[in-house]
Symmetry: C2
Subunit: 255 residues, 2 copies
Amino acid sequence: MRTILVTNDDGITAKGLNCLVEAIKDLGNIVVVAPDGPRSAQSKAITVTTPLRYWKQYTNGNLTMYRCNGTPCDCVKIGMYSILDRKPDLLVAGINHGTNSSINVIYSGTMGAALEGCAEGIPSMGLSLCSYDQNADMTEAVRHSVKLIKKVLDEGLPTGICLNVNFPVGEIKGAKIVRQSRGRWQERFVEGTDPAGNKYYWLTGTFNNFEPDAEDTDEGTLKAGYASIVPCHIDLTHYQSVETLKSWNYDSQKV
Amino acid sequence: MRTILVTNDDGITAKGLNCLVEAIKDLGNIVVVAPDGPRSAQSKAITVTTPLRYWKQYTNGNLTMYRCNGTPCDCVKIGMYSILDRKPDLLVAGINHGTNSSINVIYSGTMGAALEGCAEGIPSMGLSLCSYDQNADMTEAVRHSVKLIKKVLDEGLPTGICLNVNFPVGEIKGAKIVRQSRGRWQERFVEGTDPAGNKYYWLTGTFNNFEPDAEDTDEGTLKAGYASIVPCHIDLTHYQSVETLKSWNYDSQKV
């Protein structure tokens, strides 16, 4: 029987995770290892200086849920190397409450988990709904997620590739396989003073899409009402620049 | 006068950071914003659910040092949007105590900071010595770092590119511009029981290089005694797979 490892970054009580699990519980052994609380924007952080712990939360038929005190990436490692006795057939992270398109992919704990699965050679995907509402309607996102999960179980994924899947809010017109948009957050800190009189700084910002008219991107696809599917990998090398930088004549010299 | 923003993931007291700052203090205004303690393997994690704080630690001439309660990535954001009134001319993260070659780049707090600078359009680099010894001899790594920092200040970097620089231990024969090695950690958890009788799990593992004979990689370069310089970017799209996955005929369909 197939084993599907599920995690998220919103924590084990999040609606997105629980709706997803309910919908896929007949597809195999479902093992959830999710953080014991919110771990948004934890990227691919792993816990190395303190120990991890995990607890069985719930079990019913093919479904077993564990909560863990670590990051989403830790949850994948705990799932693979402490709970399961074999590599799962699929890793799914989500459904996240909030977008992970464009530059968000580099901060996302959801995609951190998916990229960890990818590094381990497991077909992996991160699923996100473009709404930060913790009570968001998950119906459409769940329906599309189930279809995509079945497709990936049937077809597999290219080696070293995972999927960054984002769903628009409302009716979903279909899905498109696209690239990551170029964009960034225009950030600022809200400054405050705590009751003890000490200053604190709280991050906020607005997203700035550098290519708002590009239809072949995740942002463009979502704006048009389609789910975006971006194949991602963990090789950060910018190959073209390997050649460009050789023109420095810095390469191989005794420095 | 040029402004150089410096951070790390080993924390403000780390030898690697302090040796580097001492060596570059005449190159411009040096503003250090470093974590108040170790933040290894924090990747590109950012703090969004709790406030950040920072404190001036030290000031002398062109050098000002701040400590911050956040991640390396937070330190870059605090440096840019709260402390400095302009974009720095260069961002340097390190010198890290420990390798950030191959897959380590995705977990690295040092490279998390460099990639954050990169996303902000600042010429950025992460510098790491392949030794986890907190008292490691930094002489050679510092000498090479200063030379490379001067080169990047003179030449700039291609848009959207930062450098992942790793130094071998001992004498350094030169530097090579190369790609990220394929590899992964073969991981396991050391299981223990705390004084209260509760189980804990501590991550450990050994690195497995998938291409040990490849000379055009960071791992191959370091093994040969040279510093490795890998140009990195934040676009995780695997472009070849965008085309491959279109053969699914999943693209654009009403799902």
